[in-house]
Symmetry: C2
Subunit: 322 residues, 2 copies
Amino acid sequence: MNVEKNRVIGIDIGGTGTKIGIVDARGKILARDESIATNAYPTFGEYINAINEVIGRLIEITGSKGKIRGIGVGAPDSNFYTGNIEHAFNLPWKGVLPLAQMLSECSGIPVRVTNDANAAAIGEMTYGTAKGMKNFIVITLGTGVGSGIVINGELVYGSDGFAGELGHVTMVRGEEGRLCGCGRKGCLEAYCSATGVVRTAKEMLETLDTPSLLRDIKGITSRDVYEAALKGDKIALDVFEYTGKMLGEAIADFVAFSSPEAIILFGGLSRAGNLLLAPLQRSLDKSVLHTFKGKTKIIISQLPDSDAAILGASALAWEQLP
Amino acid sequence: MNVEKNRVIGIDIGGTGTKIGIVDARGKILARDESIATNAYPTFGEYINAINEVIGRLIEITGSKGKIRGIGVGAPDSNFYTGNIEHAFNLPWKGVLPLAQMLSECSGIPVRVTNDANAAAIGEMTYGTAKGMKNFIVITLGTGVGSGIVINGELVYGSDGFAGELGHVTMVRGEEGRLCGCGRKGCLEAYCSATGVVRTAKEMLETLDTPSLLRDIKGITSRDVYEAALKGDKIALDVFEYTGKMLGEAIADFVAFSSPEAIILFGGLSRAGNLLLAPLQRSLDKSVLHTFKGKTKIIISQLPDSDAAILGASALAWEQLP
């Protein structure tokens, strides 16, 4: 009997948790599991075995035996061409980890791997707001800043599989640039991520005398800044103004590169909505080369937060497998 | 009799001169004409007629009747998708000029149009150092700074046909950025073009007391700076150091975008060779994200200067016509 392979598995590997889901052709998550703590496994082999057990269980409860077309994995510092995770900062296992090979061997299912921002871009193209778009960029604004770039309808992996590190373009040159997690100075990520927002807030609180709701909070988070801004807090509003302005300037440069139809903002900080979007749009309009003025749409991702990571990864399995 | 169409025509439209050549499949220019002064024609129609006459003559003398597969044109501010020149700064005719349509109608030959930097990239891919490369960027260092970007083996035109304006990424943000020809401030082009080199030299001569051969020259050109540098002139050497450093920093950002196998430098300033290349390479190595360290080759174009513009444009006709 020839069973149609019309389901895929999406796996999102984060520094703390791992999400796994079975997804049908319409982008519905049939079953999901978020029980695996990424950092609870001493060896990568044990971690892969744990994933494989969960996969077996999800296949069982959804009646998906023989129906799984492929597995797509979003993982940090992963290489689409080799299927390996290479020297990931945020994972407990060091060196080169042959993720695709090990997982496909033990599951018997083909596996494709890319980083979470690329997975988000494929997710937007398959299930989201970028359906039918040939040229767009997803910018993920979370703990860090990532990007997935689509040009001529294809994801850009570059010559080595690692293209699209737009969180690490330099926005403030020289010694005054903020130290970034990558060891360099002045990266976009050091300013326009959730952690960057907190740093901006702390800097403003230190250097200005303006009263602020944030002064009473210990261990400020980007959520605190967001909530204070909603209440009209001057410092918090200035933080979003500053962040949006810089993001707009960065996007003006990205537009000069690939002239995308749209920039799609994704992840935690993008939920700030107009607080971020309004200064971003003003800054982009002011900064962008006249040739491109008014051409690029700025869109906040509409994929539901809880599903986006699994959907993005799963879409890789539709996209890239025969 | 079925004559094989194994020749193409390349046309390079510059602000002052127009170059036209017939090229065979091996990239040999069989005949060329550089007699047309771009700015000698009151209307665009007269200019197109003049080009068409030259084409007829070149076809005649090379026995190419019926053998021309297509015409490729490199022209400023031109749109690959529409075949139009749109609001070109450097040309005598204003507005939107339907170049491809008018030239194909009067010549009876299919015409494809793109800007000179994109033509250079296709030229490198067809006849030059980028043969077989799927991911590379050509940066043209002339009066301005242009770029032609190839990703997954295809030229990047973006959503509107104008992608690849890397001369207009912002390198110096805020008011201290140099005014660029585009009306914005701090663009790469304002620093790393031939004119940028002259501006840097003048700034250094004004602000420093260092003796320099350049102090005796009225109307300094980038060639003067080059020749002074060859003689060991401190200011001239510092100009190249400054230019190379900034270009290296810009390239580090481009690498974060598309992770190209190579960056190919093309045009006047690239002939400075190691004077530019050595500081550029040092700066790139220092600036680039660890992921990409040592991966991207910096190459100076090997296409002969006198032929490159015609070859680049002609390659468009091989590439893009059925």
